[in-house]
């Protein structure tokens, strides 16, 4: 009897401690991103795969509208709350780093040599003060979307290959009513969209300039190349009258509605256009100039928030390793339409010759990523310069001088610290 009781007692203790250790092992980490249907779907799938491979770790996925994203992350993390693994735009890295929102990735879990061997070189902008602060699952580049039906109607057989052809085609694609109001535009200019990247990293370089100094501390577009590039963008609306900034609210909306012959956008827009009934479109690489081509690449990275410590940090690192694995990258491409961040995954033939992703992937090989200090005010430079030229009739060079002064202040204030 006594013996029986003893063993029952031992069993009970053992069972409880087993349960207890099981509870201790179950780590829950939080993942935050902004709401975008295909991104949410992709992360849900990735979490499912990750949890199956790592019993004992659960990932709570939280997402909310883009408009509140930065604020909520900043406020939550500073209050010791919020995500362990967080998605951020690469252009925000400095804000997040300065704000103490994220911690550097440990070189044991993410050896620098491996990162530099496996990822596209533009990921180098994530290395600040000798540490990597985040890694992307996917990268983005720009391409030209063109409406096949409108092209055929205008007697054009293929996409423009050069800047001059692009203007010429835009003229042929534009339709106006008797009073000169646009019925459809040849090229949907959209300074709120991707056009500031196009101007900064593509057009300025095509005209032989460079947007910023080598060390990234000085604005360098108050040059002939900068002015020519700005004139090229603004001429669509101001001189050729083949497009209007914000026509039908946004360039992507005009294109989706079949009211724009061409628009510039990223691969993430493919899923929107594919779903649009009656929109017959194709994608090609950005037009070149004088035999050169450039592209702009950007990416969202996943970082580990400063809040993650101990076993949560270990779990966060594991999850981040999975998010940046080859498997995750291919899944991200298939679900979201963003390009794998490693050449070994991106540059396989099936991806390179893909009718929709191909032009973006080919563009990556000649793309530059801007080392933003703070994206929003820097984007405002083109928006304002464009408005000065188009709305106020300013000279492009004079407009650039004005916005360059404001942008340089942003740089100075940042590097002053």
């Amino acid at each position: 009897m006594k013996k029986w009781l003893k063993s029952a007692f031992a069993l009970a203790i053992g069972g409880t401690s087993l349960l207890w250790s099981g509870m201790v092992q179950a780590v829950e980490i939080e993942y935050w991103q902004y709401t975008y249907a295909s991104r949410v779907e992709a992360i849900d799938k990735l979490i499912q795969n990750f949890e199956a491979a790592n019993p004992g770790v659960t990932v709570k996925h939280t997402h909310f509208p883009y408009a509140d994203y930065r604020k909520k992350v900043a406020i939550a993390v500073s209050a010791g709350d919020g995500p362990d693994v967080v998605q951020l735009y690469y252009g925000w890295l400095n804000d997040y780093r300065e704000g103490g929102l994220i911690q550097p990735l440990s070189s044991s879990a993410f050896p620098h040599a491996t990162i530099e061997r496996d990822f596209f070189p533009m990921v180098g902008t994530m290395k600040v003060e000798g540490e990597y602060w985040g890694l992307p699952t996917a990268v983005r580049s720009l391409a030209l979307f063109w409406n096949k039906d409108m092209f055929a109607e205008a007697g054009l057989s293929g996409p423009p290959e050069t800047l001059d052809e692009m203007v010429d085609y835009a003229k042929k694609l534009t339709k106006k009513d008797a009073d000169g109001n646009y019925l459809s535009v040849g090229f949907a200019v959209d300074t709120d969209g991707q056009d500031h990247h196009w101007w900064r990293e593509v057009l300025i370089r095509l005209y032989g300039g460079q947007p910023y100094s080598e060390d990234g501390k000085k604005v360098n577009y108050t040059t002939d190349a900068g002015a020519k590039a700005l004139k090229y963008v603004t001429d669509f609306e101001a001189v050729h009258k083949v497009g209007a900034n914000g026509f039908m609210n946004r360039g992507q909306d005009a294109f989706a509605a079949g009211k724009a012959g061409m628009v510039l956008d990223g691969s993430f827009r493919i899923s929107k256009f594919v779903k649009q009934d009656g929109l017959n479109f194709a994608i090609s690489e950005l037009p070149g100039h004088n035999g050169n081509r450039y592209n702009f690449s950007s990416y969202w990275v996943n970082g580990i928030s400063s809040k993650a410590e101990g076993e949560k940090k270990a779990a966060a690192e594991k999850f981040l390793q999975y998010l940046t694995s080859d498997e995750a990258m291919q899944l991200w491409l298939d679900t979201v339409g963003e390009l794998p961040a490693k050449p070994a995954v991106a540059l396989v033939d099936a991806n390179k010759t893909h009718p929709l992703y191909g032009p973006f992937i080919r563009g990556l090989s000649y793309a530059n990523a801007t080392a933003f200090v703070s994206e929003k005010p820097q984007r405002q430079s083109l928006i304002d310069a464009y408005d000065m030229v188009v709305l106020q009739g300013a000279d492009p060079a004079a407009a650039l001088k004005k916005v360059a002064k404001a942008e340089q202040e942003v740089f100075d204030e940042f590097f002053d610290n």
């Binding site: 930065r70 604020k71 900043a74 406020i75 993390v77 500073s78 804000d95 300065e98 704000g99 103490g100 929102l101 009513d177 009073d179 109001n181 646009y182 019925l183 709120d192 209007a244 900034n245 914000g246 026509f247 039908m248 609210n249 009211k259 703070s374 929003k376 005010p377 405002q380 928006i383 304002d384 408005d387 000065m388 709305l391 106020q392």
Partner: protein, 299 residues
């Protein structure tokens, strides 16, 4: 405890009970309103990005603000919203209230129709107006203009028109409130004044000028102050209707509150944002003090 309570007089008990109830709004005001207000004065002397260390920099935030030409443009925009918005909305509201008071058929329904925009979410309404202002072929206003054979207008895309285009829905939304207050004011004027004037042979215009308007002075002062403060704090409409929520084109529609918001939540310059808040607070304080002074003089 019960001993202590029993020893109190009825008057003391009443006072304690009253203060217990008053404590709720007091605590609310002190912790939610007053404390953050004073905190803002303190933060305005700091360089602080919400997360990192706070660095005391004295009045540097103010100096930077006053040296920034965008600030003066934004301040002028803010004043324009009030300077144009207040008289225009008051004039329209008074005319509508005056005539609405004369009619009986459908009075309640029409009044309700004017009041509904006041109850509508500003952001939802601003989005609808944003679409109204679009260029052809989708913008409602431009479609109407082209039907009438007039050239289309850039509205929100124009440096000169955008501010007024954004002001219009704000005026429209506030109209219902002003009309109701005006009608109440008109009805509070003793009928005997009008009857006496009619007997003396005064015309409609004379009655309006000599009796109605002077008697409405307190109503007008109240509405002026309330809507001035409202227009000085305009935000939702601008944030929703300007492209990229930036108060553009070229800052031509940006009011102070949007500038505060951008400093605080886009650039995380909390010190600069607080300094701007203090400046706005001072402006509103002066407007309120002038109101108090005018009201006292009237009595």
């Amino acid at each position: 405890m019960t001993d202590f309570w029993n020893r109190l007089t009825i008057g003391q008990k009443l006072a304690i009970t009253a203060w217990l109830f008053l404590a709720i709004p007091l605590v609310f005001y002190i912790t939610i309103r007053f404390y953050p207000t004073f905190e803002a004065f303190y933060v305005s002397t700091l360089k602080w990005n919400l997360l990192g260390a706070k660095k005391a920099i004295g009045f540097k935030n103010y100096i930077k603000i006053f040296a920034d030409e965008d600030f003066w443009l934004v301040l002028w925009n803010t004043i324009k919203y009030a300077l144009v918005g207040v008289p225009v909305s008051m004039l329209i509201a008074f005319v509508i209230a005056y005539w609405l008071n004369e009619i009986h058929f459908g009075h309640d329904m029409i009044r309700a129709m004017y009041f509904i925009p006041f109850l509508t979410t500003a952001v939802a309404m601003a989005w609808v107006w944003r679409w109204f202002y679009q260029p052809l072929p989708i913008g409602y206003f431009n479609i109407m203009l082209s039907w009438m054979g007039m050239p289309q207008q850039p509205f929100l895309k124009s440096v000169t028109q955008a501010l007024y285009a954004i002001m219009a829905p704000a005026v429209w939304a506030g109209l219902g409130f002003q009309i109701v207050i005006f009608i109440a004011g008109i009805r509070a004027i003793p009928r005997s004044y009008f009857e006496a004037a009619e007997i003396d042979g005064a015309g409609r215009w004379q009655i309006l000028r000599e009796i109605t308007l002077p008697a409405l002075k307190p109503t007008m002062i109240f509405l002026t102050v309330v809507s001035t403060i409202g227009f000085l704090r305009i935000f939702d409409q601008v944030y929703t209707m300007s492209a990229d929520s930036a108060g553009g084109p070229l800052n031509s529609t940006k009011p102070l509150v949007l500038m505060i918001y951008e400093f605080a939540f886009d650039e995380f310059k909390l010190g600069r944002a607080s300094a701007l808040t203090v400046i706005l607070f001072m402006i509103l304080l002066v407007v309120s003090l002038v109101q108090l002074w005018l009201m006292r003089k009237h009595k």
